[in-house]
Each structure stands twice: as C-alpha cells, then as structure tokens.
C-alpha cells in the first residue's frame, strides 16, 4: 500500500509539474538567447551568442567524410583551407595560404601564412596540408568529396611552408576545389590517416571557431578559436546550430525567438507568411545559384526530336512558375549557368524569348513535320526537391497544354527509384536540380554537357566537348569567358535541358540580427562570424 501511495504521489507530482510548466511564464527562456553574461552589442558593446536553426543534416564533420552543404557549413567555420571565397563575391582569395599561383598549366603552388597553429596549439605546416588532402583521397569515403580531387595527380610539401599540387591535365577551376570541404586542413596528430574521426569536439581545425559541443542531429556549439590567425573578424561570441526536423518547426522557432536565424529550408509558403510578420521577424534575401531544370533524354521519343525540345522551350513561362508557384522566392533562369557567375548568359532568352511564344513553337513543330498534339511524359520527384515540385510541374503541364501543341502526362517517383531510373533511359523528360560544388560556370556546364552528362541523357555535341576541355585548361580569363559563353549558346540551340529557375538564398531572422546579408553569395558558405545580434 505504501508503495502504491508513493507511486501515486510521484505520478501526481510529475503530472502537476508538467502542468505547472505548461502554465508558467509565457515567454520561453530562449526567446533571448545569449542573455545572461552578454550585453547588447551596440558599437563597442559585448558580443552575443547567435542561434541558427536549419533543417540541413550533418553527415560528417571530418572533411574526408562529407560532400553536402549541411556538413560543409560546420566545416567552413571550424577549419581553414588554403583558399576561400571572399564574402559577397565569387572570388577566390588566400586563407591559410599567403598566396597561390600556377607554376605551369598543371602545377599549382601555395605558400602558407607563417606561424599558423590548430586550435589545440599543434603547428599547421605544409605537411599537415598534404596529409589532409591525401587522406581525403585515401579514405575515399562513400559520402566524401574525394571525387572533387580526381583531377589531382599528386600533392607534395616543399619545406614547411610550400605545397605543390600536380594535376593530371590543365584545370582552371582547381583553386575553387581547394575552397570546398575537400580542401579543409586537419591536424595530422588528431585525425587518423585511413579512417574518419568520430564527430565531436575532437574535430580540430584552425578556423574561426572550435567545436565545443556536438550532439548529432540536435545541436552543434561553436566557440571562438583563440588561436585563429586569419583575417576574419567575429561579430558574435559564439554560435549554436540547432538542427530541426521540419520547415514547419523551423518557422515556429524563428517566430517565437527560439532561434535567431532560420536558414535552409523554409518553404515558399512559410517565407511569404513570415514576410507579413514584420513585428517579429525580417526576411533576408541574397544571391543563390541553386538551380532547377528539365532534362530531355535525347535518345527517347518524343524528346529525341530537336523540334519537340525547342517547342517546349518556346512554351515555358518561367515568370509564372517563379511567381505563382514559388511566391517570387526564385528567379527565372535562362541558362544552365545562373546569373551572378562570371560567364553567365541568357542564352535561352535570346533563343526562345522571355515569354511563351506558341506561334513559334507551332512553326518549329510544323517545319519538322511533327503531328500535334505531341504526347510527352514528364517525371518529377516529391522526395528530393520538396513537395512544391508537384505544383511546379502541374504549372508546366498547364503551360504546355495551353499552347494546344502538347498532351502532357505527369508521373512521379520517390527519389530512390527516380534517381536510378533516369540514367537508365526510363524517363524521356525529367526534373533535376543542381547545387554547386564551387561558384564557377564550369560546375554548371561540364557535369551536364560532357558526353551525355552525369544523368546519361545521350546528348553529345563534340564542339561543346572541345570547348569544355579548352575552358578548363584556359589561363587567359578573357578567352575562357568567350568559350563559356559559346558553350551556353550551342547548348541552348540543342536544348538537351531547359533551365527553369535559380533559387535565392532566404533566411528569416530576429529583428536585431545583423550580417546575414553579408554572407549570402553564390558560394553558399555560411560565415557565422559575420552574424551579430544587438
């Protein structure tokens, strides 16, 4: 009986505690994260801790184990690389290196800043750089970025401050590759040579922050690295990354002040709603170069007919998609190379116009002797690019059928089945998206146009292949620009793909948060040190 009474007492107390908690103060404590020791950061004031909420996942904090944005966001703030992308631009500038240069077309040499150390005090020298790059290749983790270094033949240290990269063939974008996660420098005394280091505060780098606490899929706590010797200046006293499961909870958390910045990925509907809540949050937009596009399999009917592909290109209304489906959170895209990157053109606008032209679509089909309406099946996936893809392709179907020239059947499949089917010639037309490895036009051309592209759509234009090889080895920037533009013009004529839109970077922040706009550039590098709070 006593045990029962005890149990009953404990149960009642616990329930009452929960109820009391539910009815107590209506303001969540985290509504003002950073409160306590830090004071307002007005000019000369104390810096505050900032909380970032995101639905991105972290695959690995070890640079050898990740090839995804969620992991790289942490890595870019914990590690240094030889080179980095200057905030607000797509320019490559030195980071741990004092300078890098081409010795010849296949040899790239970097000299390190003297006196660098990792956050634990170990020296960062040329041997550490070589070790870091080599272990990415050696470990070759299934989720890792080793494929980015496939153009590298060898890497070697010369003395303690010089690193020499030898490439298999001329590759003008190699400096960009060194700014990705594949180029991050780790402490050889901490990271094993042949396997990944488990994620946690043991991940030692020389970047702006150190990782002081990490709970997978829940939270990463970053504190300033006292041994950092780079030129980036902190606008906060630390950063917390809070991992969320869904955009819906992310939106609620930024509304309630539980997170200071909600970035990646709020839905277009959520963004539109947050834009109206001006007393609680502000929506910050910046350049983004993530793209969505339609791919044609040029070996399958009806997409194998050039005229059919061109007629589709004449019929699509990108503005309607951007405004009606995405509430203006994306921008119409008229080349596979998004606006904002050097060399980007508007090749599809030049070739097919900015608005639909059913008359020209009809003419091109008639000239090719194709009977209308053309039956075409377009595939999309709800499980990789978000449920809004369904709305996007419903709109595309509406636009194509509005011309009277097409009868469109929409089909969808889960990503796993979808991504296996499209390279195997099972889809005549299908949706895909691209997230950049590095902000250079080559990353938007070579993967798509070189011998059928990574999606194996059988498009083959030897002239484009030659131009791609030339631009990758080109040392003359002006000549390279011309080659990039030529590729886009040729591809627009052949229409192996139709670019649809490029995404803007969008974040919702508390009203007192500053600096998010400074880090929004085509590199997608989230520079936590630029974000402050007053």
């Amino acid at each position: 009986m006593r045990r029962q009474q005890l149990f009953a007492t404990v149960a009642v107390v616990a329930t009452l505690s929960l109820a009391a908690a539910a009815c107590s103060s209506s303001k969540p404590k985290a509504a003002s994260p950073g409160s306590g020791t830090a004071s307002a950061p007005a000019a000369g004031g104390k810096l505050q801790q900032v909380v970032l909420g995101t639905t991105d996942k972290v695959i690995s904090i070890d640079p050898a184990g990740a090839y995804d944005e969620g992991s790289w966001v942490l890595q870019w703030n914990i590690y240094q690389a030889l080179l980095k992308i200057k905030a607000g631009t797509a320019d490559v500038v030195p980071d741990a290196a004092s300078g890098c240069s081409w010795t010849n077309t296949t040899t790239y040499t970097c000299k390190l800043v003297p006196g660098l150390t990792f956050s634990n005090g170990d020296p960062l020298d040329a041997a550490a750089v070589v070790y870091s790059i080599q272990r990415v290749v050696k470990i070759n983790d299934p989720n890792g970025p080793s494929s980015l270094l496939s153009s590298m033949k060898s890497v070697a240290a010369q003395g303690t401050d010089t690193v020499v990269f030898t490439l298999n063939a001329p590759n003008s974008v190699f400096p960009y590759i060194l700014t990705t996660g594949a180029g991050n420098i780790v402490d050889p005394k901490v990271f094993p040579a042949d396997k990944l280091l488990p994620d946690g505060p043991g991940d030692i780098g020389s970047g702006v922050y150190t990782l002081s606490k990490y709970t997978a899929n829940q939270q990463a706590v970053l504190t300033p690295n006292k041994k950092y010797k780079g030129d980036d200046v902190l606008a906060n006293k630390g950063f917390i990354v809070h991992y969320e499961q869904t955009p819906a909870t992310l939106k609620l958390d930024v509304e309630q002040g539980n997170v200071d910045v909600a970035w990646r990925s709020l839905s277009p509907t959520d963004i539109a709603s947050l834009q109206t809540e001006t007393s609680k949050v502000k929506v910050v937009k910046g350049n983004g170069i993530e793209i969505r596009y339609l791919v044609f399999n040029t070996s399958l009917p009806p997409a194998k007919d050039l005229a059919t592909r061109q007629a589709v290109a004449y019929s699509i209304d990108r503005n309607a998609i951007a405004n009606n489906v995405y509430n203006g959170t994306v921008t119409p895209l008229y080349s596979m190379v998004p606006a904002g990157l050097t060399g980007a053109t508007q090749a599809y606008k030049d070739a097919y116009g900015a608005t639909p032209d059913p008359a020209k679509a009809k003419a091109v089909l008639a000239a090719a002797g194709i009977t209308t309406p053309v039956n075409i099946t377009i595939w999309w996936t709800p499980s990789h690019y978000g449920a809004v893809s369904g709305d996007e392709y419903t709109e595309i179907k509406r636009e194509l059928e509005a011309t009277g020239l097409f009868k469109v059947t929409l089909q969808s499949a889960e990503w796993d089945a979808y991504s296996k089917a499209y390279p195997k010639d099972q889809y005549e037309a299908f949706e895909l998206g691209w997230f950049p490895d590095y902000p250079d036009a080559d990353d938007y051309l070579a993967p798509f146009y070189l011998k059928g592209g990574f999606y194996n759509n059988h498009y083959d234009n030897p002239a484009i292949d030659t131009l791609l090889t030339q631009e990758e080895g080109e040392t003359d920037a002006t000549k390279r620009l011309g080659e990039l533009q030529q590729i886009q013009t040729l591809a627009a004529k052949d229409v192996p793909t139709i670019p649809i839109w490029q995404g803007n970077q969008v974040a919702a922040t508390g009203l007192t948060v500053t600096g998010v706009d400074k880090t929004f550039d085509p590199s997608y590098i989230f520079r936590m040190w630029l974000i402050g709070k007053s």
């Binding site: 149960a11 539910a22 985290a30 994260p33 989720n143 709970t215 997978a216 309630q256 889960e414 979808y418």
Partner: protein
C-alpha cells in the same frame, strides 16, 4: 510444491528457448525488408550529383555490391557480437545513437506512461463504478477518441493552440538551444540532467518542452487504460468477495479501492506491458511531430536516407525490447497465475 517449481522452471526455459528463433526471424525480416526497399544510402545522398559509374564505385567501396548472403552473415555477426556498426549517413556509432536518442525516447515514454495512468486510472475507476451513468458514457467516449485520434493530428492541434496561438509552450525540441548548449550532459535525460546540475531554469525549460509531446502520447495510451480498468473493475465488482465485503459493511470506496481495484489490476498490468509496442510506435510519430530527438525520430531520418546499418541496428533493438517485455510479462503471468504452465 516441488512439482509446481519444476513446472515453472520448465515453462521459463521453454519461453527462453523460443526467444532464439523469434529473434532470428525478426533479424532476418529486418534485413530483407531493408534490401527489398528501393535505393541505398549512396543513391539517396549522391544520386543527383554523380554519374552512374561513380555511384557504382562508391557502392562497391561501401560493400553494398557484396552478395546478399555475405551481407546477411556480416549483419548477424555484428548483432551477435553486440557491435551494431556505424550509421552510414551521419557517421555515428549505433550504440551512441541508442544511448543519446534512446534516452530521449525513454524520457518521453516514462512521462507519457505517467500521464496515461494519472488520467486513465481515475476515469476508468469512476466509469466502472458508475456503470452506464453519464460519467461512464463520457469516460468511454473520451477513451475511444483519445485512442483513435492520430497522434500526429493531436500533436499538431496542441502545437497550434498552446504554441502558436497561446505561446505557452515551445513547439518542438527537448530543450531551448541555449539551455541545451549550457547544460552538461550526464544521462542524456534532460529533466534528470537539469536536476543533477541543480539548474532550475533548465529544469523548467525541460518540463515545458516535455509537456506537449508527453500529453500527446499519454492521451493515446490513456484510452487503453480507461477501457481496461473499467471493464475489469466491472467484472471484479461482481465477485463474491466484493459482495461479502459490502455485506460486512465495508464502505463502498474501500470496497472498490482495496478489493475490486487491486484484483482488476492484474490483467491491466499484463496488457499494459504489451502496450510497449504501441508506446514505441506512438513515440515515433510523436517525436516526428515535435522534433523530439528520440530514437523514433532518428529512425525516420535513417529510413529516409536508406541507411541500412542504422535502421537494422535500431529496429533490432526495438524488436528485442518488445520480445524482452513479452518474455517478462509471460514470467510475471506464470508467477502470479498457477494455471500458466507448459
């Protein structure tokens, strides 16, 4: 007496022996289901990024191209050596996932069970005692609704009302980001860690975060409790010993609490034990709705990423937990009911 003890021992040994094929079947089903499902972790993560040849090379490097039987034997070896491996998609050892996320699920399950009992037992008792009254009808209706209402729907309603409209409670998570960052981890149970650390602010914060998920899951369970208590109480109130107690002039509330309720609890305990499976499946949905960092939430993430190793590891532990609880209930049943024997 010796015969009874021998019979009980034989029963226990037989039940234990049956666990082995049961577990083997479970492990095999888990393994096969993961292989039958389309896709793999490489395809899920890098499918839109690399060419088919590069994907195949990565698949080979990860061992996914090995014959199925070889993968199966490797899997069994891992399970029986208590090495559940490392998740492919986030590089976390499965034992760490079970420890960290399992603690969150435990915290939620315990809180939900307490709520289920605190709400369900009094309603069930009163409904049984006042059979066919308005309270009984209301109690039964409440029980049916809470049992039938989808967990995610109830959860979303709670979020809308208590978080979005009233702003009383945080909508998701186990702790506020700042508290979570500052609270040292001892047990991965946020309430316990806050008490351990004498951190009142974190304690209140953890209770606030626990309130909505535990009520959501607790309501699901309390429907079962209400109906069980009511039905069994009605049966026991018909017993001769209850009539005898009443005839001796024992007050009605004592008749109910001391005589009828205690006897009515025996089948309730048995069935509640079997609700462990319901609790775990409910926890998956509750965690997903409230972004609660439990094992169910993690399982959904791994399933979406086709992470064979992680899903196998977690489901194996889920299955073993249910098998263990069933076994325990069988033992308890056999101990209290002499008719249960082989």
């Amino acid at each position: 007496m010796a015969s009874s003890g021998g019979s009980l021992r034989r029963y226990a040994l037989t039940r234990l022996a049956l666990v082995i094929p049961m577990v083997l079947i479970l492990l095999t089903v888990v393994f096969l289901l993961m292989r039958v499902a389309p896709g793999d972790p490489i395809q899920a993560a890098l499918g839109g990024k690399l060419s088919p040849a590069q994907l195949e090379e990565k698949r080979r490097a990860a061992g996914f191209t090995k014959p199925l039987i070889v993968q199966y034997v490797d899997y069994l070896k891992q399970v029986f050596s208590l090495n559940l491996g490392t998740a492919i998609t986030d590089n976390q050892p499965i034992t760490t996932v079970l420890k960290v996320n399992g603690a969150a699920t435990l915290e939620l399950s315990v809180a939900a069970s307490i709520i289920a009992l605190v709400i369900g037992v009094p309603i069930g008792l009163r409904a049984g005692r006042l059979r066919d009254s308005a309270f009984d009808a209301g109690g039964r209706l409440f029980g049916i609704i809470t049992y039938a209402a989808p967990v995610f729907f109830v959860g979303l309603l709670f979020q809308l009302v208590f978080s979005k409209w009233l702003n009383w409670l945080p909508n998701s998570g186990m702790l506020s980001p700042i508290d979570q960052a500052e609270l040292p981890t001892h047990t991965h149970l946020s309430v316990v860690d806050a008490i351990w650390d004498h951190n009142m602010s974190a304690f209140i914060d953890s209770l606030k975060h626990l309130a909505m998920p535990s009520f959501t899951l607790g309501l699901l369970l309390c429907g079962v409790v209400i109906r069980l208590i009511r039905t069994n109480l009605i049966q026991t109130l018909k017993g001769d010993y209850v009539e005898a107690a009443r005839a001796r002039g024992v007050p009605e509330h004592k008749v109910v609490m001391r005589h009828a309720f205690r006897n009515a609890l025996v089948p309730v305990v048995t069935v509640m034990g079997l609700q462990a499976a319901l609790l775990l499946s409910g926890a998956v949905l509750t965690e997903e709705t409230f972004n609660w960092p439990g094992i169910g939430n993690q399982l959904v993430t791994y399933l979406n990423n086709r992470d064979y190793t992680a899903v196998q590891g977690i489901i194996t532990i889920f299955a073993l937990a249910v098998v263990f609880i069933s076994l325990l209930i069988d033992f308890v049943n056999a101990a209290i009911d002499p008719r249960v024997r082989y």
